[in-house]
Amino acid sequence: MKKNWPVLLLCALLLVGLVLPLAAGTTAPGFYVEVLLGGLMTGVLYSLVAMGFALIFKASGVFNFAQGAMVLFAALSVARLAERMPLWAAILIGILIMIALAYVIEWVVLRPLVNQEGIALFMATLGVTFFLDGFGQTVWGSDIYKIDLGIAKEPVMVLQGMFQGGILINKEDVAAALVAMALVAVLAVFFQKTATGRALRAVADDHQAAQSIGIPLNHMWVIVWSVAGIVALVAGVIWGSRLGVQFSVSLVALKALPVVILGGLTSVTGAIVGGLIIGVGEKMAEVFLGPVLVNTFDLAGGGIENWFAYVLALLFLLVRPQGLFGEKHIDRV
């Protein structure tokens, strides 16, 4: 317990910061809850992207910088395909495309680089990012496209009794949260209960040991990248429905990077918890901290949420270098 005190201190400080706007009486409780919920919803979306990262890192030891590009590519594919066919068909074909992508990446990038260190693989995913960005826009075009999930866009007013004026909730966000939870449940079942899932966990633990008991490494990697690709598709469809499918989606997905390092690179739970923390943290900072900074320093506008996630992640890393749920790395000499 002694060793955990820096983490607890940090959490305590953050909680204080969180409650401050409410306690200071400067905001209406209804509005505060709205912002909080908004942050949670954004956090869920970050978690969706971060889950893909964690999956890939867990099972193949690769830090997939291209996850954001995969989200965008999946979203582009679905959006464009949906112009010619019903949405469910577009999503199905999108899934097939992502599986094909996993095969290609495994064959062209992962297999030749199998014995290189993490940095080399990370750089390779940088290359994949660029390639996928260019390729996606070449094939599908570079305008802004829409994905219509059939969910009403107008927010709904709830809890009018409890809070004066009620709270606005976006139905899409609720749907997103439900989908994310369902996805986590499915992944949990997959990893714990199926043989393939167990094999994947074995590969994540120790590549060579897994190979020596007959688990085909390459096959496993294709599976993992396919699963991550499907997760990316889900994330892409939800993001795309919310923001419209455009290049900035892949930049927003970069935000998922601080999520995974806060949560721990190897942990899906960490991806979820991290996503929520970052989502709430940056929303709160933008809405409440931002104006304070703007006034104090005479700034030309807000935009704190561009970097606040990184600050949060960094603070956590400094007290817990392996992330909240990550595994501690012992250097053996």
């Binding site: 990370f122 940088l126 506008g301 990184y310």
Partner: protein, 354 residues
């Protein structure tokens, strides 16, 4: 059979440790520098200067800087354009508020400011490694993007957020024409290259490489990890800061915060991956590559006779970059510099096969 060390015996350690121990290398380098200073300004067109040589010289400097921290010390940084921005804005503010300063002094001071900032952002490297550090440096990029866009003091309260600079004045000489800019940048680059080679050959360079290769063993040898990592960040940021100042003043003339965005950071990283990490020469190769490739690609539609929109060309550029990164990582992880070294090895033996 011309490129041999036969007969070139060194009778002192000093002779053995000099920058260019082989006579043929010394001759070649002398000829190259003479060519660059004397022949090129007379022969090359303005267009080549402005779109190829000048960006190349500045990006090579930045690439050397990034290579010092990533290639030699093994600390990954994907937000290095942020430090270029620091150098550029520092130089701008110095020239604005202390106009009497000699521009060379401004460059050094801008570099020092960038070094100080780099030092601060290098502190996480003491606790976190590798990929965690990569993300932390990415944060530096976004923070700096925001800082220079929002804190109005840096841009002297300009409405548009962009800054303008006058041509550089040095000892009464106004550096205006492309030829003058080229000569100035070439001189600066040569000085900085020699310094980088000296650092890399010295004990600090060995400490950096030891940290890169095996940091636990390095500590056991007596190398202080804090000093090694932070000095790498500081020196690297100094270089990159000076490059940023030069980029803004000599190449761009006026810029907005987006000039130093993530794309530039990633380009810097690509330069050293393709050129060769842990190699000063590689930084040059990489910078040349990044500068030349878009130009070639722009000519491609005319060359092939196929019409292509500029957007299409830009997408193609992305795809080719990405594919090349992966290609180099698979085929020659040490980049063009290694290919060059292999070529020299073969040249040693030529015309014999082995």
């Amino acid at each position: 059979m011309f490129y041999r060390e036969n007969g070139q015996f060194k009778s002192s350690y000093a002779a053995d440790q000099q920058l260019l121990p082989i006579l043929q290398d010394r001759v070649f380098m002398f000829a190259l520098v003479a060519f660059a200073f004397i022949v090129v300004p007379l022969v090359v067109t303005d267009y080549v200067f402005l779109s190829l040589l000048i960006p190349f010289l500045i990006l090579a400097l930045a690439a050397i800087g990034l290579n010092l921290v990533v290639g030699y010390c093994g600390q990954i940084s994907i937000g290095h354009a942020a430090f270029m921005a620091v150098g550029a804005y520092a130089a701008y503010n110095l020239v604005l508020r202390v106009p009497q300063l000699n521009f060379l002094v401004v460059l050094v001071l801008a570099g020092l400011v960038a070094a100080a900032v780099g030092l601060v952002f290098g502190i996480p490297s003491l606790r976190i490694k590798g990929l965690y550090l990569a993300v932390a440096t990415l944060g530096a990029q976004f923070f700096m993007d925001w800082l220079f866009a929002r804190v109005k003091w840096f841009t002297n309260y300009a409405h548009s957020g962009s800054v303008q600079t006058a041509p550089v004045e040095l000892f009464g000489w106004s550096i205006n024409s492309p030829q003058e800019k080229y000569v100035f940048l070439l001189a600066v680059l040569i000085v900085f290259t020699v310094i980088a080679r000296n650092l890399v050959r010295g004990h600090i360079g060995r400490a950096w490489m030891a940290m890169r290769d095996m940091d636990v063993a390095a500590e056991v040898i007596g190398i202080r990890p804090v000093y090694a990592k932070l000095s790498a960040f500081a020196v690297s940021s100094f270089y990159v800061g000076v490059a940023g100042a030069l980029w803004g003043f000599v190449h761009l003339g006026s810029w907005e915060p987006a000039a130093f965005n993530l794309t530039l950071s990633l380009n810097l990283l690509f330069m050293i991956i393709i050129g060769g990490m842990g190699s000063i020469l590689g930084s040059f190769f990489g910078a040349a590559f990044i500068v030349v490739l878009p130009i070639l690609l722009n000519q491609l539609p005319q060359f092939l006779g196929i019409p292509m929109s500029t957007a299409m060309v830009s997408h193609l550029e992305f795809m080719i970059f990405g594919a090349l990164i992966v290609f180099f990582l698979i085929v020659e992880p040490h980049g063009l510099a290694r290919l060059w070294a292999i070529g020299k090895e073969k040249l040693r033996l030529w015309p014999f096969p082995h």
